[in-house]
């Protein structure tokens, strides 16, 4: 009888480990190489509203990548907005503040006035409400 319980416990443990791994995988997920390349080349950039924008007119491939990511971003913002009792725009904007801050030198970002700047070692030009 006790052996039975032990066996079940072991099974549960293994199941738990597998589940943890499955949950942990997306956390470690990294950018798609095409997306990373478009960012690095300055064809696309971060906008203050929390979404990606086209700096130059996009190729169909780049357009597909950006649209896909922006849809996923909107879904994530919507979920987090509900959790934090805020609006999607508010959460997206706050994320935009952070995403522009996290651009690395060479990448593009949009200033509050709408122009595209190339990030350098200095602080990016952001909205005055950004933390």
């Amino acid at each position: 009888m006790f052996e039975h319980v032990k066996k079940n416990k072991a099974l549960a443990l293994i199941g738990g480990v597998i589940l943890t791994a499955a949950v942990a995988v997306p956390v470690m997920a990294q950018r798609d190489p095409a997306y990373e390349a478009a960012r690095a080349s300055g064809k696309i950039g971060e906008k203050p509203d929390g979404y990606l924008g086209y700096v130059t007119s996009p190729s169909p491939a780049i357009k597909a990548v950006v649209e896909d990511i922006n849809i996923k971003r909107k879904a994530a913002y919507t979920r987090k907005a509900q959790e934090t009792n805020s609006t999607v725009e508010q959460f997206a904007f706050t994320s935009g503040c952070n995403l522009i801050m996290r651009t690395v030198p060479g990448e593009k970002y949009q200033t509050p006035s709408g122009t595209w700047n190339t990030r350098d070692s200095s602080a990016p030009v952001r909205d005055s409400r950004c933390p």
């Binding site: 997306p26 996923k72 805020s86 706050t94 503040c97 996290r102 933390p131």
Partner: protein, 92 residues
């Protein structure tokens, strides 16, 4: 009845009468007063309608969406935003 300044004939009569009597200035004064009253009513009405019009265009505040985002909200959400960006690094 005789003093009704809005009636033309009577007004004429009054005017003529006043020409002959001392009531001349009285009649002019009455006319002026009625004109002033009409002016006041007109002014009050236009003033009132102007007040109503002032309160009407309150709506288009929505034009600038960013106005809805206040700095305090951004500060409150900052931690959660950072958390999301770290957790779903593939889309950021």
């Amino acid at each position: 009845m005789m003093n009704n300044p809005f009636s033309r004939g009577k007004a004429m009569m009054m005017y003529q009468t006043s020409q002959l009597t001392d009531r001349r200035y009285d009649a002019i004064r009455r006319r002026m007063r009625s004109l002033a009253t009409a002016g006041l009513i007109f002014g009050a009405l236009t003033g009132l309608s102007a007040c109503v019009q002032v309160s009407a265009p309150d709506k288009p505040i929505v034009i600038n969406l960013n106005i809805n985002i206040k700095q305090e909200v951004v500060y409150r959400l900052d931690g959660d935003a950072k958390d999301l960006i770290n957790k779903e690094a593939d889309i950021f």
